[in-house]
């Protein structure tokens, strides 16, 4: 399953638009390559794939990918994509957004796309900063992180996209880092198979702005620290947590165990990557809508 880069370039990208405007070493190119590979491994016809992006360095991706591409306004990509998906429910629609794009200006659109559970594959490239506009604070800038609008360090609380996605009702949530390229590809591939709203948060590097302002080193150093600051989630444990073993009979009196369990358990401060949650039995809003239309048509006939 090893793909040649030149193959991706020829098949799924627009070589005439290259080289990209991205800085040398920016993880965005890796994300784009992973998306192209995910589409390839899913065996999709690229005529039937759309990429809808917002505004930002991340938003520029749609210009380079050889799908039906729509480079929208800042933050509104999920809303444009909702219209497109409802008009063409058979289409695979990939939505690419930056952290500011998706969580700040477009936060409401993202929340409601997740609530509706519309069948989109959202890729949020989280570089903790506003890249395109020159390194201002973003909703995911860590406390203490220096930006061009927080020279002595941000003291705003960063957004927790994972919790937001859970609460809003997304069907699937995975986190990947750009350095784990194979896992990134696999997670996007898996997200594209979900019926409903699937979100992949990709932790990426903006070494040119955020990295420089916070002395985090060059692109490869930033990627190496992603390695140290994240851990792979154990899918077996997740499955167990979702369906805990029942050791007592159904009718027996329950003893509250909420306080005891966490004691003595080593808390890992590293951010988990991999599939964080997946709602089983989820069904894409657009397919539910069209099923309703058919039902109505049958009732009339």
């Amino acid at each position: 399953m090893k793909l040649q880069n030149s193959f991706i370039l020829r098949e799924y990208l627009r070589p005439q638009a290259f080289p990209t405007t991205w800085c040398p070493g920016c993880g965005l190119g890796i994300v784009m390559s992973s998306i192209a590979q995910a589409v390839h491994f899913r065996g999709l016809d690229k005529n039937n794939v759309a990429m809808v992006s917002g505004i930002g360095c991340t938003g520029r991706m749609s210009g380079y990918a050889d799908f039906n591409t729509l480079h929208t306004t800042h933050g509104r990509a999920p809303a444009f994509a909702t219209g497109l998906k409802m008009a063409r429910p058979d289409m695979s629609v990939i939505v690419v957004m930056g952290d500011g794009d998706s969580m700040s200006i477009g936060g409401n659109h993202l929340v409601h796309a997740m609530r509706r559970n519309i069948g989109l594959t959202a890729v949020v490239v989280n570089n903790a900063v506003y890249g395109l506009t020159g390194g201002q604070s973003s909703p995911t800038t860590p406390v203490g992180g220096r930006t061009s609008t927080a020279a002595s360090g941000s003291f705003e609380r960063p957004m927790n996209l994972e919790t937001l996605a859970r609460a809003a009702g997304a069907a699937f949530y995975a986190r990947a880092t750009v350095n784990q390229t194979a896992a990134l590809t696999r997670l996007i591939e898996r997200a594209m198979g979900v019926s409903g709203f699937a979100l992949v948060e990709v932790v990426s590097n903006c070494h040119v702005l955020y990295g420089r302002m916070n002395e985090l080193g060059d692109a490869s150093q930033m990627m190496k620290s992603m390695e140290e600051q994240t851990r792979r989630v154990n899918p077996v444990l997740l499955r167990r947590a979702a369906a805990p073993l029942r050791l007592t009979s159904a009718g027996s009196p329950a003893t509250p165990v909420s306080t005891a369990t966490a004691q003595g358990v080593h808390q890992d401060p590293r951010v988990p990557r991999g599939v964080i949650f997946e709602r089983h039995g989820s069904r894409d809003y657009s397919s539910r809508y069209y099923a309703m239309l058919e039902q109505k048509a049958r009732a009339r006939a």
Binding site: K2, P19, T20, G25, N179, T181, M223
Partner: protein, 85 residues
């Protein structure tokens, strides 16, 4: 395009796409690649290459590719009891 083929693998670098970011050099587990004066990767130790494609996968600009020796299918087709899928 620079082509270096000394060991069994070949490395193509597309200079018009390469931005000399050094990621391929940093991620090569075999220390195959070295920067030239401008930072472009040179496959100076191609004989150490194991075709893991870490360089290729980490290149954000589609500028480098590793080409296996011609009849790759022969190697890939060798049936293995252990890793059969």
């Amino acid at each position: 395009m620079d082509i270096v083929a000394r060991g069994i693998y070949r490395i193509n670098l597309y200079r018009e796409l390469c931005k000399a970011c050094g990621l391929c050099i940093a991620w090569c587990p075999q220390q195959v690649l070295f920067p030239d004066a401008q930072g472009y990767p040179l496959a100076n130790a191609i004989e150490r290459c194991v075709n893991c494609k870490a360089c290729e996968r980490h290149c954000p600009d589609f500028a480098i590719e590793v080409i296996p020796p011609e009849p790759e299918s022969e190697i890939a087709d060798v049936p293995s009891l252990i890793h059969a899928r």
